[in-house]
């Protein structure tokens, strides 16, 4: 792992603290999700129904992005959005409430875990692969036209880099020098299809050259390298130098979605050894800036915050079925 000299001990601890917070949240959702789906597994049952795509293992990407953004910057995420939402400062209580389908949720229970919108921090996500990128262009366009130095970050998986929306978006962003940072999370798998069976190039970063913009690939899920790469891309964007593409080789620690038995996955045995949190914990411990007590304290603080959000969600009212037609249009239900 490359040690970035620009990172202070405080910055490094903050990266780990964010990773721990995200993992704590994902573990809590995992627990709640499976708590009431038995006997067997009924995807539509329980307090948290529907597909659930958790981001355990991908925390370094979120932490590395979030460290550089302010609340005025925009971020568009994917069907696997919780980690970047937390790192970007999305209201955790309202996000948990949305996942539980409550009236107090970000979308008043109309969106669900793949469709989280928090206008307070300009956060959104799309459940359609690669289609979160074009709206990020528009947010960047608005920021540029307003004469601000605000930026938009568009996160997508490696599968998205084979979709037309990705290529259209890179071309347009480059053409108009939009302040966008494209971050590809390469977790090796498009559900069950390995990257080797989907992608013609070993690194999607090389595709940046086709659009005349910088492309960087970060290996080993290395949070400090991600932090450095995103930092440079954000600096460029804020300075009016245009978009950048970053691909991170990250890790899908769990299934594509909960209930995915992952029978297709030959790499599972080695996965626990690649967990980025113990890896970075050891790194910071070896560097002499973290001890076991401090790490335990991070976990305890994260747990307090996450359980507060879960409790808020579970105690919140459900939406009234009579209001199912509300919010189609701004003035209410259509005729």
């Amino acid at each position: 792992m490359t040690v970035q000299s620009a990172l202070s001990a405080t910055d490094r601890l903050e990266l780990l603290r964010m990773m721990v917070l995200i993992r704590t949240f994902e573990e809590a959702i995992l627990r709640e999700y499976h708590a009431d789906k038995s006997p067997g597994f009924d995807i539509g049952a329980g307090l948290v129904p529907g597909e659930m795509h958790l981001a355990a293992g991908q925390e370094p990407v979120a932490a590395g992005i979030g460290a550089h953004l302010s609340l005025g910057d925009a971020l568009t995420a994917t069907h696997r959005p919780h980690h970047v939402a937390i790192a970007h400062g999305v209201d955790m209580r309202k996000m948990a409430a949305e996942i539980f389908g409550r009236e107090t949720g970000l979308g008043r229970g109309r969106g669900g875990h793949m469709h989280l919108f928090d206008p307070e921090v300009h956060f959104s996500c799309s459940g359609i692969v690669a289609e979160g990128l074009p709206p990020a262009l528009g947010q960047a366009f608005a920021f540029q036209r307003a004469g601000t130095d605000r930026v938009a970050v568009a996160v997508a998986g490696e599968g998205a880099a084979n979709a037309g929306a990705f290529h259209e978006s890179l071309n347009l962003a480059a053409l108009w020098k939009l302040p966008v940072i494209f971050v590809i999370e390469d977790n090796d798998w498009g559900i069950s299809v390995p990257r080797s069976a989907s992608t013609s190039v070993p690194s999607n970063a090389v595709r940046a050259a086709g659009y005349g913009i910088p492309g960087t690939r970060v290996e080993d899920n290395a949070v400090e390298d991600i932090w450095a790469a995103v930092g440079e891309a954000v600096r460029r964007a804020r300075a009016g130098e245009g978009p950048s593409l970053i691909e991170v080789h990250t890790l899908r620690l769990w299934g594509h979605f909960e209930g995915d038995a992952q029978g297709y996955r030959g790499d599972l045995e080695g996965v626990p050894g690649r967990d980025p949190i113990p890896t970075y914990q050891k790194h910071l411990t070896d560097a002499g800036i973290l001890d076991d007590a401090a790490f335990a304290e991070m976990g305890a603080a994260a747990s307090t915050r996450v359980e507060d959000a879960i409790a808020f969600a579970k105690s919140s009212p459900l939406p009234d079925p009579a209001d199912a037609l509300k919010y189609v249009f701004t003035e209410g239900a259509q005729s």
Binding site: A74, T76, G105, L106, G107, R108, G109, R110, G111, G112, H115, F117, P119, H122, S124, S126, G127, I128, E131, L133, P134, P135, A136, L137, G138, Q139, A140, F141, A142, F143, R145, A152, G164, A165, E168, S169, N171, L172, L175, K326, Y327, V328, F329, T330, Q334, S335
Partner: protein
């Protein structure tokens, strides 16, 4: 939101038309221009909207008036620039995006129906997407199956988009003004045959009186284009012109046709449909969109639900479920021509 002052005055909804005449295309451009003067957040984007002025003249002159920062030609990347419009709208801008032909929706529909149309609902009303997506529709000039469709029923079927379809210059300006000011996403579909273009056959109704100052035609409000007592033709867009021509011809024979111009497909003015059919008892839907699973069935269902057993006649003149043919005679065999409309009216009132 800009509060820049405007020197123009504001008229109430649907003012008197006055005497000044414009083509539909010029009426649309005037509406966009006035809103761009009023609100600096309004911008126009699309393919060939700049120096060309829009392939069907929907943006002619705007580049000269507002410059390339606000009238923006794009690459042929509909997904990217429609998505860009969505993101800009979310951040408070008011984009007017042109999809050159509505037939091209296939390359960018995900941004339209999964994003533009759903974000407001999915966000529980917390995020608004105030954008206009305008597009050219319709056939009649041998442009073939991929450049001649209407497709308003396709957009109308999917929740979250308002769909407006003017038939004349007055409505074109008023609906464009209302669409740009709307806080909801609006699909604005203009038939090439109503634009008053110098290079395409046009009905005299493509040129008409238009007030100079800004005004709105309310979205969701149909218009009685011609009052009559024998049969109701419920229609929209270029088919309004044909229906009025047929009505005038048959009036000489004592057949009294009422013509309802829907003007908006979503939200549909069901009251206007029911009011007319309640009066005449006979309903013909004339629709240049495909016949099955679309607007014509929806209009008939609206009447049937409101007055079960109360209909003396129901029929439709639409495009049978076939791709639009190229050869002129084939194309006119499937379009809702005045001859087909006239035959339908005669059948409806036959005793």
């Amino acid at each position: 939101m800009s509060t820049a002052p405007t020197t123009r005055t504001e008229l109430p909804s649907e003012p008197e038309a006055g005497r000044r005449k414009l083509s539909t295309a010029k009426a649309m451009v005037e509406a966009i221009s006035q809103q761009m003067h009023t609100d600096e957040q309004v911008f126009v984007m699309g393919e060939d909207v700049g120096s060309y002025g829009g392939i069907f003249s929907s943006t002619t002159g705007l580049l000269d008036e507002f410059g390339p920062e606000r009238v923006i030609d794009t690459p042929i990347s509909e997904t990217a620039f429609i998505g860009l419009g969505i993101g800009a709208a979310v951040e408070g801008m008011r984009p007017v995006i042109e999809l050159m032909f509505v037939d091209f929706f296939g390359v960018c529909m995900d941004q339209i129906y999964n994003h533009m149309a759903k974000i407001h609902y999915e966000s529980g009303g917390n995020v608004r997407v105030p954008m206009v997506l305008m597009s050219a529709t319709g056939g009649g000039y041998s442009d073939g199956a991929q450049h001649s469709q209407c497709l308003w029923g396709t957009f109308a079927h999917l929740p979250g988009m308002k769909v407006v379809v003017p038939s004349n210059p007055y409505d074109a300006k008023g609906l464009m003004t209302a669409a740009i000011r709307s806080d909801d996403p609006v699909i604005y579909l203009f038939h090439k045959g109503i634009m008053g273009l110098g290079w395409m056959k046009k009905n005299q109704r493509s040129i008409g009186a238009v007030p100079t100052d800004a005004y709105e035609v309310p979205i969701g409000k149909a218009r009685v284009a011609r009052e009559g007592s024998d049969v109701s033709i419920v229609t929209l867009s270029l088919s309004v012109h044909h229906s009025l021509d047929v009505a005038e011809k048959l009036a000489a024979e004592g057949i009294d046709v009422e013509v309802i111009d829907l003007r908006t497909v979503v939200p549909l003015d069901r009251e206007a449909i029911v009011a007319s059919v309640s009066k005449t008892g006979r309903l013909i839907v004339v629709d240049e969109d495909y016949q099955s699973f679309g607007l014509s069935g929806e209009v008939i269902a609206t009447a049937a639900e409101a007055m079960p057993g109360g209909l003396k006649h129901v029929s439709r003149v639409a495009v049978p479920d076939v791709p639009i043919p190229y050869a002129r005679d084939l194309e006119y065999a499937v379009l809702p021509t005045p001859a087909r409309i006239e035959a339908a009216v005669r059948k409806a009132v036959a005793r």
